[in-house]
Symmetry: C2
């Protein structure tokens, strides 16, 4: 696999870098960003937090707006931010912001025209970590986090792969996609009309049935415009209670769905992951 | 004056808000952002740091990318980020990124077609602080900071108005605009061909002649692509030495001209201003 480094910015004593590579899983060129903390200069054993962004984002939004570098540098954790979908002229797309490019929902699509490129689940679970771990001075200790659609992605990837992730956290996740408009639209397109197949990618369903627990932290803004119709954290809470799942979830009055909310609480998420990664 | 609140995001316990108003100085509608720290809920005496952004920016870049809210909240300082120029269909503009809208250089233009709207110096020194201080729970203690073109703006506004600002800081300022391509292009357009008029807006010239000192802090990335041709901090250093001006300036190896650099050192700037504001 050939990586091309396309940008580098020194940040909090470490380095933010962007790379492109040809993905064999997604059949297109992909871009990702990595933040290597200052400790990576003298240590080949840095744990990695993968960050999955929300609808319409790329690898850039979180790296530019969350302020994560300050805390990753202090704790010695690398951050990897992949793109939110396959991209390019030959990749299926849709005019709406919540389907197609920028809106993969982090599943393996089974339905045409999506099934050729939209294999983000496999890309994130297998191809990307292999690439990261064979290229950068990092360990195989992984955590995963995300926002909104990426919060859904982080929770479902961790719940389906408890042996691969030390911890999982989410801001404002789409917690019960089988039962909200965003999830129903995407799952119908990518996975088809058989709703039983959707449950394998629904965090609330997976948390209710989980046998191996990955410690989980969720933060949600109380003034989030999408809270009631799209996000449904109460379903995730009910699943955690029913299964005695170790979920630390908090609703923060006044906070919305934006990166201002994420930035306000990203330190707590990094410290949570550090407890399990370090 | 009528202010319209167009956005509000809770951030680090305080509020980031955007407002529009009709500027009588600039003869157009202007937008600005303000961060009110949590202390503003119970205190009507919050000092204000004004932030001037660089070429092509609006009020949003600094608020979204610098991480300033964390430190403003901890210290109890309000942040005001104005736009970088007058805006709108009726406002003179140029196709290039370094002249016209987004590139005011924070002067009062004397030359047509710029002189009707491009009166940013008066807007920033008089109209905007009056509006802020009559609307929000803030004191008249002011500091000013900026980046690149905004670093030039912050230094020149403070040097020309030492009675109005407690402290000034800059990231990667255009430190000697009379002697660099960006400055020469802008000053020719806005101020005309008489280069003696440019010196009243050149930080290096003003610092060399200053009689009343505003404490000043400057940080510059050593790997900044614009360092040699456009920024010229060495001229500012020579002026400070010649005039025994209290300038704390540091060059940081490896850092570039981006917001990743600003975010890495914004805490130190806030603490510097806090010493003089609080």
């Amino acid at each position: 696999m050939t990586l091309e480094n396309i940008s580098a910015n020194k940040s909090y004593g470490g380095w933010h870098k962007q790379y492109t590579h040809q993905s064999k899983t997604l059949h297109c060129e992909m871009r990702f960003a990595i933040y290597l903390p200052p400790q990576a200069a003298n240590n080949t054993n840095i744990p990695v937090l993968y960050w999955l962004s929300g609808l319409t984002c790329t690898d850039e939004n979180f790296m530019q707006k969350s302020g994560v570098q300050q805390f990753a540098a202090a704790l010695g954790i690398a951050i990897v931010a992949p793109d939110t979908s396959p991209r390019g002229e030959g990749v299926a797309d849709d005019e709406s912001y919540d389907l197609g490019q920028g809106a993969s929902f982090y599943v393996n699509a089974t339905e045409p025209p999506w099934n050729r490129h939209y294999q983000m689940y496999d890309y994130l679970v297998d191809e990307l970590p292999q690439l990261i771990e064979s290229t950068f001075p990092v360990s195989t200790k992984r955590a995963i986090a995300g926002h909104s659609m990426g919060g859904h992605g982080a929770l479902t990837l961790a719940l389906l792969n408890p042996q691969r992730y030390c911890s999982v956290s989410a801001f404002s996740p789409i917690a019960n996609p089988s039962n909200c408009p965003w999830g129903q639209k995407a799952f119908t397109a990518y996975l088809g009309n058989d709703t039983s197949k959707w449950l394998a990618h629904d965090a609330s369903e997976l948390m209710r049935q989980a046998k191996n627990f990955v410690p989980a932290k969720v933060d949600q803004g109380g003034a989030d415009d999408f809270l009631v119709e799209q996000l449904k954290p109460e379903t995730l809470v009910a699943s955690a209670k029913a299964n005695s799942y170790p979920l630390d979830i908090n609703i923060h009055p006044g906070y919305d769905h934006s990166y201002y909310f994420i930035a306000s609480f990203i330190e707590a998420h990094l410290k949570f992951h550090a407890k399990h990664l370090l």
